[in-house]
Amino acid sequence: MAEFIKQSWVFPVIQSVHLIGLTMLVGSICLVDLRLLGIGRNQKIADLASGLAPWTNGGLFTVLVTGPLMLGSDLPRYFNNPAFLLKMGLLAVALAGQFTLHRRAVRNSGTSSSPRQKLTAVLSLIVWSSIVLAGRAIADFDIRVV
């Protein structure tokens, strides 16, 4: 299995699917965060979040399937990579925040948001952006184990 994934064409295909999932996940969260920050005033934030939920969930499912496939194809590569380790740490923080702070901020919101909810949105944008950047940086911090 690992050898099959490491084959030249399989890995970039999985990476592409990972990126599509990432865009669904981060893109939908970003839209809710921007709404929490006051961009757009017409709809309830909770309605927007529930409208986008299929994209968030579908994206999360996609990255959580394709990510471990890439990880499993070359464990030493990833566990020796500082960018990957940082990404996993940030991901734990992001997921924990997403299902607690973020969910609460969205649920308690009407058509406008409190400073606390805005802070949650800013933190969410920063952490998810950092995950994307750290993911991209994995290739820059490759220390090949020969």
Binding site: G27, G51, R136
Partner: protein
């Protein structure tokens, strides 16, 4: 001046050389390009998705415009850093073709067949991601 010559000139400019010859130039610009896609890629598709919960005309328009500006700016910088190589790449050419098709699809979209238009947009969009990754290979 032929197109390959033009590409050579583009990648010889100060901006291009700063990106391609510095240690962190390319990783940073490339990462920002991916970040812009991750944050705003979905927003660009939203008019096609027709969310009930979002007032399309007033709310999303500016997010979409800013998103497109960021993706295109970082994309142009990545291209400029190695214009000749990108121009030679079949996958890059496919990607640019898909970009043109996306623009045509967006301009030609009509209210009464938005489901068809949105399906086309999403397929083109996903194909662009695959073509981007393919640049490293062919």
């Amino acid at each position: 001046m032929s197109i390959p010559e033009l590409c050579e000139r583009i990648q010889d400019t100060w901006v291009s050389r700063t990106i391609s010859e510095s240690t962190w130039g390319y990783p940073i610009v490339g990462a920002l390009h991916v970040l812009a896609i991750a944050l705003f890629g979905l927003a660009v598709l939203i008019p096609h998705i027709r969310l009930h919960a979002w007032d399309l005309d007033t709310d999303v328009r500016w997010i979409r415009r800013i998103g497109m500006a960021l993706v295109l700016t970082t994309g142009v910088l990545v291209f400029a850093s190695g214009a000749a190589r990108y121009y030679e790449s079949t996958s890059f050419r496919i990607k640019m073709g898909l970009l043109v098709l996306m623009a045509v699809n967006a301009l030609a979209s009509r209210q009464h067949r938005y489901k068809f238009d949105s399906a086309v947009a999403m397929v083109l969009w996903a194909a662009m991601i695959f073509a981007s990754r393919g640049i490293a290979f062919f």
